[in-house]
């Protein structure tokens, strides 16, 4: 079995056996979005205007909060150390970890987003753009955030620090992600904006794992 498949399988198994790590970000996403009507107004017109931003920001925060568990467990049990001293490039194992993490935490967000969009009165035609933009955006968020997670893995209680590092890096994804849904809401074409999101995803996936691997090496004191 190749390195990629073996790592992916291991990570998926570990994730599925600790279901809290999958369910918690999803639960967070749903709770945060449903807080907004309570805080703002139940009026459909207002909520519809705010929905793209609310759903996107909530998804972004859910991805960011799930990142803390990305390398933490492996760091505590020493598996990360083994990964770093093992021969060969780190690119594939890191990419496999990120894939598994996105499949377990990001994909559920994408799947549940149309429901939340519907609850915040987004028109049904716009829901397509919502899940498509999240499908392109959340993996990019996972990869970019993983750079911050790798750098803070050796920092105790690095949660707030991680947010400080990662949130400014999330700005472009948020702008184009929420922007695409907003455009769809205005009845404009969205394929160009989704293409930009795709470009950001391609950049993140191709270069991101290198940065994550370097960050892990730095954190291990190498």
């Amino acid at each position: 079995m190749s390195v990629f498949a073996a790592t992916l399988r291991r990570e998926l198994l570990l994730g599925l056996r600790t279901p809290a790590e999958i369910i918690n970000p999803l639960f967070f996403f749903v709770v945060v979005v449903s807080l907004f009507p309570l805080a703002l107004t139940p009026s459909p017109e207002t909520l519809r205007l705010l929905a793209p931003g609310v759903v996107w920001v909530a998804a972004l925060l859910a991805v960011m909060l799930s990142l803390d568990s990305l390398f933490r467990r492996d760091e505590e049990c020493g598996a990360l150390e083994q990964l770093l001293v093992a021969p060969g490039e780190l690119y594939l194992p890191v990419l496999a970890r990120l894939c598994a993490h996105w499949l377990l935490t990001g994909l559920p967000l994408v799947l549940v987003a149309p429901l939340l969009g519907y609850m915040t009165y987004l028109p049904v035609e716009v829901l397509d753009t919502l899940w498509q933009s999240l499908l392109l955006g959340t993996p990019a968020l996972t990869v970019i955030g993983a750079i911050g997670a790798a750098l803070t893995v050796s920092v105790r209680r690095g949660g707030i620090l991680l947010a400080l590092l990662v949130l400014p890096l999330y700005v472009p994804v948020l702008v184009f992600g929420a922007g695409s849904v907003g455009r769809a809401l205005d009845g404009m074409e969205v394929s160009s904006v989704l293409a930009v999101l795709g470009a950001i995803l391609a950049l993140a996936v191709s270069l991101g794992p290198f940065a994550v691997a370097l960050g892990l090496r730095i954190s291990s004191g190498d």
Partner: protein, 310 residues
Amino acid sequence: MTETARPVPGHFYLWSGLGLLVAVALYVFWQAPQPNRTVLVVGGYLLSVLFYFGAVRYPHWYWQALVRWYHQLGSPRHFYRISGVLLPYLVALSGGLLLVGLIWGLAFSPPHHEQGNSYRIIYLHVPAASGAMMGYMAMGICGLVSLVWRMKMAEVAIKAIAPFGATLAAVALITGAIWGRPTWGTYWIWDARLTSMLILFFMYLGVMGLQNAIADPRQAGRAASLLSLVGIINVVIVRYSVDWWHSLHQGSSMSIFGAGGSQIHPSMLAPLLISMFGTYFLFAVAVLIRTRTEVLWRERRSRWVKEVLR
């Protein structure tokens, strides 16, 4: 240097002639405002000819000097010596430029035809904003140098740049708010430039936070290097995305200088440019002083530090 000068090869004339053609074409067809165009085209041409001439006639000397400087600046001891020689000149240069630029700008340049005297805060605002941008670029380049060549001095430089860059970004934001009140009628608008400066400020804070959170200085330095390198890509993308976002909202696009960029009258541009260069040199001074202190602290057990401090 005992290297003998080589004769000028024929292709030098060919290429400099072509360069002259390009410069003339740029001068004629480039749509930039007049004084900037002259300075940029003539200055750029002269600089490239100088560099090419030197590099062709004395290639060995050029290369050797570059390599020597690079290695000397990378060693803490030589860095301390060289920066100690440079520092007084830089202090004088930045002090002089800032004094001339600010007094000229604040007291002697003509008032704006719409904004009266309130526009004069530009002489603080624009230098601070551009210094903050340049500072982040410098930090990213130091990050690359530190990660590729593992140069200790580059890590120290990042630690020195981050707080001063954050300060400049904060100054740019605050003076922008003070300026915005009389011109726009509000302290803050979600303008594309304001927003990207705010994000730049957050990114400086991130580098400082990471630097402070890790106890081991080498590890903290390398972590900050990676973050500032990633951040440089982000700065560029944020710039484009925020422009796009702003044109999407198309609300209050109250750009002062219009779409053309710097359509500033020369009598206002000259003091502005002088204070900008003054700010850059001030940046260099602040970074050098902080770097020197940090170098002394990190190398405190070595003999040369004990000799310096005796």
